[in-house]
């Protein structure tokens, strides 16, 4: 492997500082990168500490007594966390698919230059970026009028479309799909629905990936909708469960009866502190492994979005 950098080989001396400054810059970035990553490692370390050591000496950067009891407890007592995982997965998958369909279809329609209602629909997309009804009236409409209180759809529907994503789609369709392609399909007698689903969508994978990732992370990381609309603990997502555990550590002991022990005994013996950090790790682990591979789609979306919208 070549250890000479582009700078050393003389190819890339423009806009580059001297070696000393380069070392200082690298040190600064190493420090910043550690500040961004180490806190999650601390949470991992707490989740792997034994409850006994936490009780005696508190949290530590490195576990003083390594133990998998928190994860064992989670796996063993199952139902509550498995159900929350199920809710999170369902909401993320269904929400992402629904969101992609709603977003791309609208983006496509308002990107068609000859469409008669283009002006009207473009305003329908734009106005909410400027003005919104605010939390209070949104809450009452979703909870009372649409009957979303304590429904899994309260976690899915309100987040499905964002005008920002629709604009990204519209910009993509406008700039990358040649008009000739659609015109020739029209000449062959294909209807607009068919053109959209069998011609446009298959060649729009980059923008679908970008929108899909935005939606995926938004659904997986959402806790606000749960806080507003969900009281039934069976409908808690992982985020809602962690939110609940942060304010009430004993909530994990709720299904004591399922395990055949008394509530008091379970509260006394369960690994409370490490278990809630373990739930945080269950939430973060898939994200932490996924984002380095997908961040380029994120970045392309953010750059389009920042410039246009």
């Amino acid at each position: 492997m070549a250890t000479r950098t582009a700078y050393e080989s003389g190819l890339d001396k423009f806009n580059r500082p001297g070696k000393g400054v380069n070392v200082i810059f690298n040190l600064i970035f190493i420090l910043l990168a550690l500040i961004c990553v180490v806190p999650m490692l601390v949470v991992l370390s707490i989740s792997l500490s034994s409850e006994e050591s936490i009780r005696q000496t508190g949290y530590h950067m490195f576990p003083t007594a390594l133990s998998g009891e928190a994860y064992g407890y989670i796996a063993q007592q199952g139902t509550m966390i498995l159900r929350a995982l199920g809710v999170s997965l369902f909401v993320t998958i269904v929400g992402t698919v629904l969101g992609i369909l709603l977003t791309t279809s609208m983006g496509y329609v308002i990107s068609r230059p000859n469409y008669k209602l283009k002006g009207l629909l473009t305003w329908i997309v734009f106005i909410p970026m400027i003005f919104n009804g605010g939390l209070v009236s949104s809450y009452y409409i979703n909870a009372n009028l649409l009957g979303l209180k304590d429904s899994v759809w309260a976690l899915i529907l309100p987040l499905a479309v964002s005008s920002f994503n629709v604009i990204i789609c519209k910009t993509f369709f406008k700039s990358t799909i040649p008009d000739g392609l659609i015109e020739s399909a029209e000449m062959d007698g294909a209807g607009q629905l068919r053109i959209f689903f069998s011609i446009i969508l298959p060649i729009s994978l980059p923008v679908i990936a970008t929108i899909g990732l935005f939606l995926c992370f938004a659904y997986w990381n959402d806790w606000f909708q749960s806080m507003l609309y969900i009281n039934n603990q069976d409908l808690y997502s992982l985020q809602a469960l962690l939110n609940n555990l942060m304010s009430n550590v004993d909530a994990l002991a709720k299904n004591a009866a399922n395990m055949g022990v008394s509530y008091a005994m379970l509260v006394a013996t369960m690994p409370k502190e490490s278990a809630r950090m373990a739930v945080a790790i269950v939430i973060v682990l898939p994200v932490a492994f996924a984002y380095p591979f997908f961040q380029r789609y994120f970045i392309s979306g953010l750059t389009i979005g920042a410039v246009k919208g």
Binding site: V21, C36, M40, N114, W223, A280
Partner: protein
């Protein structure tokens, strides 16, 4: 004659396509009506003496008008001054830091000799952006918890008294500013870095041949070419000055009552009052936020359009 026939033929052809495109846009249009436009009309409850029980629509129509009573309550309370100060104060600090720090770091990372190292740093600094505020709140708790937190253990090891962080308002402005910058660092750099990598290398070649130092290259090439993006990000951020990140101000301080004065912004107040069913003040505060937000966003957009028409929203 032929143009007339052609026109009719075109119009009928459009009609079929228009119908199909309308059908394609219908689900999303319904979504917009239900989740965006209905709440816009629901905003009139700020001017009503709204009762929660029963059906929503009949309540909105039947509940008596109260004029500006709700607003009087809001602005006569001590909370009004606190939330306005917090919302604007924090946002002004965030806007400045979210430009100065990411621009400086993007300039620096663009100068690193080893591109691959730069990519690794950028990826690592992107991690907090992908964490939810609930997780960040758990991370904060690991450090700041009174009896078990890492910070207090360090203090004790150094011979100082432990501090009950969640009871001490004076530290929280710094914590909140730090958390906000920490979480937004990777995201903030993306746009600026894209601009820097898009700069034509021949500018630098010419400058180096003329004997320009690295600082002169930054000062006279990179920064001037970034100016437009920086100004636009600034204006767009100013446009959202009446909106705050609810998760930061509610989850990270863990809704601690003793921190009320330094952590309550418009969004937090509206949420708390909504949960305690004091609809009057909450709807008045939400109304003020929506209207002022609308004005600032439109103004910001108007300025952007004058600077660079392609980047304007409308």
């Amino acid at each position: 004659m032929s143009t007339k026939a052609k026109g009719r033929r075109l119009r009928t052809q459009w009609r079929k396509q228009d119908a199909e495109l309308t059908l394609l846009a219908l689900p999303t249009t319904i979504w917009y009506i239900l989740f965006c436009f209905l709440p816009m009309f629901g905003i009139i409850i700020a001017f009503k003496n709204f009762k929660i029980s029963g059906g929503f629509l009949s309540n909105v129509v039947n509940s008596p008008w109260s004029g500006f009573k709700n607003f009087e309550f809001l602005f006569k309370s001590n909370d009004a001054w606190i939330i306005i100060r917090n919302t604007l104060g924090y946002n002004i600090i965030f806007i400045i830091l979210h430009i100065v720090i990411p621009v400086a770091l993007a300039l620096m990372i663009g100068m690193l000799h080893n591109r691959r190292a730069g990519k690794v740093y950028q990826t690592m600094m992107f991690l907090p952006y992908f964490l939810s505020w609930v997780v960040v709140s758990a991370v904060g708790w690991a450090f700041l918890s009174f009896d078990k937190g890492i910070v207090n253990q360090m203090l004790v090891n150094m011979g100082s008294e432990p501090i009950n962080w969640y009871m001490e308002p004076k530290y929280w402005p710094y914590f909140l500013i730090f958390m906000n910058v920490w979480k937004g660092l990777g995201y903030g750099m993306v746009v600026y870095l894209a601009t820097i990598t898009g700069i034509d290398r021949t500018y630098y070649e010419a400058a180096v041949i003329d004997g320009a130092s690295i600082w002169q290259q930054t000062r006279f090439i990179t920064l001037p070419l970034m100016k437009l993006v920086i100004v636009m990000m600034f204006i767009l951020a100013v446009g959202r000055i009446f909106y705050t990140d609810f998760g930061l101000f509610f989850q990270v301080p863990r809704d601690a009552n003793s921190l009320f004065n330094v952590t309550t912004t418009i969004d937090v107040l509206v949420y708390k009052q909504l949960k305690t069913a004091t609809v009057g003040m909450a709807s008045a505060a939400a109304f003020v936020q929506s209207v002022l937000g609308c004005i600032t966003i439109l103004t910001a957009n108007w300025i952007v359009r004058r600077l660079d028409p392609d980047s304007a929203m409308i």
